[in-house]
């Protein structure tokens, strides 16, 4: 038997003060990030705020300055350019930041570059143009999906465990989502629909982790192994620690290979997942269980079922 983690007796509940301070800091960051997103002060993908994005692959290296001035002359001074070094790939983002113009500009821009750079032909790898109304709707849909799934999960866990467990799990899950939003906001990484997908995945992952711990807590309460609720939590977390670490490790293997080999489209997605796994594991230990302990007190009454 190879055992990475064996008979640990870590006092997790004793560490909860530090964890709460740490989480509070990250949450503030996340809340600021969320507010900024709503104020339109974040690097949102065009699928969330409207605009045009074009990805071109040139045959030869190109000059960013030349293209910037070409676009500026055509009235696209606000264009955000990004190049993928070594691959001659150029990404152009236009008309974002709350622009109300519902005009499709990808065609003209493509034509302009083709005519101005005859010596360096390119293929259009992708074009994405989204009117602000649709961006708004997609953003709303995503928020709605997040909210409804949180509610449904609270209900399910309230039915399977207790209402307080359900709420604590939801708090831990939202904690993770906010923290990742905060980190992405600080790093200035573009947030698009794929990022929202990653958030939901992280939520699901964190929830699974929390459920595993809760399950063990319930069992240990029934067996009356410890005298207080906090001690029971400590015992339970230590008992499932081996599983927690191994699962995090295997999931890491999967997301890191996405990060390394998944290509440019999946890169930020994989990054969010990789960070999310760490945060999700942390929150199920240091947020979900302590919240239940604080709310429920130290009574050792049975959790149903």
């Amino acid at each position: 038997m190879i055992e990475l983690v064996k008979n640990t007796k870590i006092d997790f509940m004793g560490l909860k003060k530090y964890a709460f301070v740490f989480s509070a800091l990250l949450l503030v960051l996340g809340l600021v990030g969320t507010v900024q997103i709503y104020r339109g002060q974040a690097n949102l993908g065009i699928d969330l705020e409207g605009g045009t994005s074009i990805q071109l692959k040139f045959q030869k290296p190109f000059s960013m300055n030349e293209i910037r001035s070409l676009l500026a002359k055509a009235g696209h001074g606000e264009a955000a350019l990004q190049e993928v070094s070594g691959e001659n790939i150029l990404m152009i983002k236009l008309g974002a930041h709350g622009s109300q113009v519902e005009k499709m500009v990808a065609g003209p821009v493509e034509k302009l570059l083709r005519e101005s750079l005859p010596g360096n032909p390119f293929v259009v790898e992708s074009v994405s143009e989204i009117g602000p109304a649709i961006g708004h709707k997609l953003r709303q849909d995503a928020a709605l999906a997040l909210l409804i799934s949180a509610l449904a999960i609270i209900l399910y866990l309230a039915w399977r465990f207790e209402f307080k467990f359900g709420v604590a799990a939801a708090i831990a899950t939202f904690h993770d989502v906010f923290v990742i939003v905060g980190i992405f906001w600080v790093l200035g990484i573009e947030m698009d629909l794929l990022f929202i997908t990653a958030l939901l995945t992280i939520g699901g992952y964190s929830l699974t982790d929390t459920v595993v711990v809760f399950d063990r807590v319930r069992e240990n309460i029934r067996l009356r192994k410890m005298k207080t609720f906090s001690e029971t939590i400590n015992l339970s977390v230590n008992e499932v620690l081996s599983r927690t670490i191994i699962t995090s490790l295997t999931t890491f293997l999967a997301t890191v290979s996405l990060l390394a080999f998944g290509g440019i489209v999946l890169r930020d997605f994989a990054l969010a997942l990789t960070m999310g796994i760490a945060i999700g594991t942390y929150s199920s230990i240091f947020i979900a269980s302590p919240v239940v302990a604080l709310w429920r007190g130290e009574k050792m009454t049975d959790v149903k079922r």
């Binding site: 990475l4 519902e102 399910y156 629909l193 997908t197 939520g203 699974t208 499932v240 699962t247 999946l266």
Partner: protein
């Protein structure tokens, strides 16, 4: 059945066979046609095979306004014929307009005349003042509703017609909500051209050029009541420069494109560029015959979507029901024009509010990298499990293979669409599958440490892990189903593979692995377990 080992093994064998039969055509083309043609396939999303996704907003209000303005024009013509002087004309709310008449019985006579002439209008007498009275006409609610429904339904039909003639394999054109149309064209290479073909209203009108008034005056704002200024676009073949010439034309269309029977392209005979030949149906031919007979030596403008393509002088009466549209077309433009004229015009203009075009090269690149990443990830996980948990880890790996097989077969069976986020969903489902096995194996280890026999430890491990596995899967399933219901685009693709993967995993993790241990134990109770 769940107790009997043979029952469970039979079930797994049957499922595996069915899965292979269902999945094979999605993976390879080299199968007998009787097999591959009868089995549904996994579709590749636009992000994986390239193509165009368009979301169009149907401007229904404009269609209603256009119709009501046509009624208004006709109403004024009726008033003119009956010598009822219209002093002023105004739009009045949705689908309505008002006409003002001088004092006297003009207004009431107009009301009676319009009522009789236009049964689809509600015609009412407005306020009577000293300087005259108004008549308010409004399209009946049923008529407005019909335009609303028709604008989207007919729009979908027309676009499908155009796309079919353009030649796209498996296009998807569907109405979304009350005023949206979503068009998906997988594999289209010339994406700008496809977008133009879909988005063009293609309302063809024949209008007389008004030579009685001057264009200059009209441009200054003195447009005659029954006229409008439109521009003729022409491209100089040498310099390639486009010029726009204003022309004053009569507002009223003498003939519209809905009377066209066929349209085809003719390529440059003698110095002329490509042009489009039209032939009208019987009704159209009759009208065209009359119009040309009545207007010999006058200019007839051929107007498409408020742009004049050409405005030739009518040399003589044309009775054959044939006409030509010339202009400076490239062959592609001419052929697309013929397509839209054949397929007919959209009942209401549409606006592209979302356009996602993925080039075929990026699609291939994405699928290659996505699949490679997924494979590398899966291999690493499999290797780790076999190394860390030894024999039990290998049993888990074996279940993982079944999981992936069943998942892909399930996608093929439902003809689901695989997208890049979908691949991410598969990776997450694999992660969860591994997690269930880790949970179970760790539980078995605990039981073994508690000095239970191998067989008892295995049974207890599965029993105790059961609800944990179910709980974690159900919560994930809840999220995935809600995402599927409320999510759009990439989120949906992710939700599909994740929810299927999670559901299948409940079976493979809890049943497929257990049967291996049970089988071994049934032959000879295991003394030690490599775990």
């Amino acid at each position: 059945m769940w107790k009997s080992i043979t029952g469970r093994i039979t079930m797994i064998v049957v499922l595996t066979t069915v899965s292979i039969i269902v999945l094979a055509p999605s993976l390879t083309d080299r199968l007998p046609s009787g097999w591959k043609d009868r089995v549904p396939k996994i579709n590749l999303g636009l992000d994986l095979q390239g193509g165009v996704f368009l979301r169009l907003a149907v401007e229904i209000d404009k269609a209603i306004e256009n119709t009501s303005m046509r009624y208004a024009d006709d109403a004024r013509a009726v008033c003119r014929d009956k010598a009822l002087p219209v002093l002023a004309f105004q739009k009045a709310g949705e689908g309505g307009f008002s006409l003002r008449f001088p004092p006297g019985d003009f207004a009431s006579r107009a009301q009676a005349a319009l009522k009789e002439e236009f049964p689809s209008l509600d015609v009412a007498l407005g306020e009577v003042k000293a300087d005259g009275a108004t008549v308010i006409a409004r399209m009946k609610p049923a008529e407005i509703q019909a335009i609303r429904t028709n604008a989207v339904v007919q729009g979908v039909e027309t676009i499908r017609n155009r796309i079919d003639q353009f030649g796209v394999r498996e296009p998807q054109i569907i109405a979304e909500g009350e005023d949206r149309i979503v068009v998906q064209l997988p594999g289209v290479k010339d994406q700008q051209r496809a977008i133009e073909l879909v988005g063009k209203t293609a309302l063809l009108e024949f209008k007389l050029v008004d030579e009685g008034a001057s264009v200059e005056e009209a441009l200054k704002g003195n447009v005659p009541e029954d006229g409008q200024v439109l521009y003729q676009k022409s491209v100089d073949p040498q310099s390639g420069r486009a010029t726009k010439t204003p022309l004053l034309v009569k507002k009223r269309a003498l003939l519209t494109g809905d009377t066209i029977k066929t349209a085809r392209v003719n390529f440059g005979d003698q110095g002329r560029g490509a042009h489009v030949s039209l032939s009208f149906d019987t009704r159209g031919a009759k009208v065209f015959d009359r119009v040309t007979a009545e207007n010999v030596k006058r200019r007839l403008a051929i107007v498409l979507d408020d742009t004049i393509y050409s405005a030739p002088v009518i040399q003589e009466r044309i009775s054959g029901g044939e006409a030509q549209i010339t202009g400076s077309f490239t062959p592609e433009e001419a052929s697309d024009l013929a397509i839209v004229l054949r397929a007919g015009s959209l009942p209401a203009p549409v606006k592209v509010i979302q356009n996602v075009s993925i080039g075929p090269s990026l699609g291939q690149d994405s699928i290659r990298k996505g699949v490679r990443a997924a494979l590398i990830g899966a291999l690493l996980v499999v290797a780790f499990m076999a190394f860390y948990y030894r024999f039990a880890g290998m049993v888990a790996d074996f279940a993982l293979v079944f999981n992936i097989l069943f998942l892909l077969a399930g996608m093929a069976a439902f003809s689901a669409t695989l997208t890049l986020p979908g691949i991410a969903g598969i990776i997450l489902a694999i992660g969860m599958a591994v997690d269930s096995n880790v949970l179970i194996i760790e539980r078995i280890r605990e039981e073994i440490r508690a000095k239970k026999s191998v067989r008892a430890a295995i049974d207890a491990g599965y029993d105790k892990a059961f609800w944990t596995v179910v709980d974690s899967h159900v919560t994930t399933l809840i999220t995935a189903v809600i995402l599927f219901q409320f999510g759009t685009g990439p989120i949906k693709g992710f939700a599909v593979t994740l929810s299927m993967g999670v559901a299948i995993n409940l079976f493979t993790a809890l049943v497929c692995t257990k049967v291996v241990f049970d089988y071994l134990n049934a032959r000879k109770p295991m003394q030690a377990l490599s775990i």
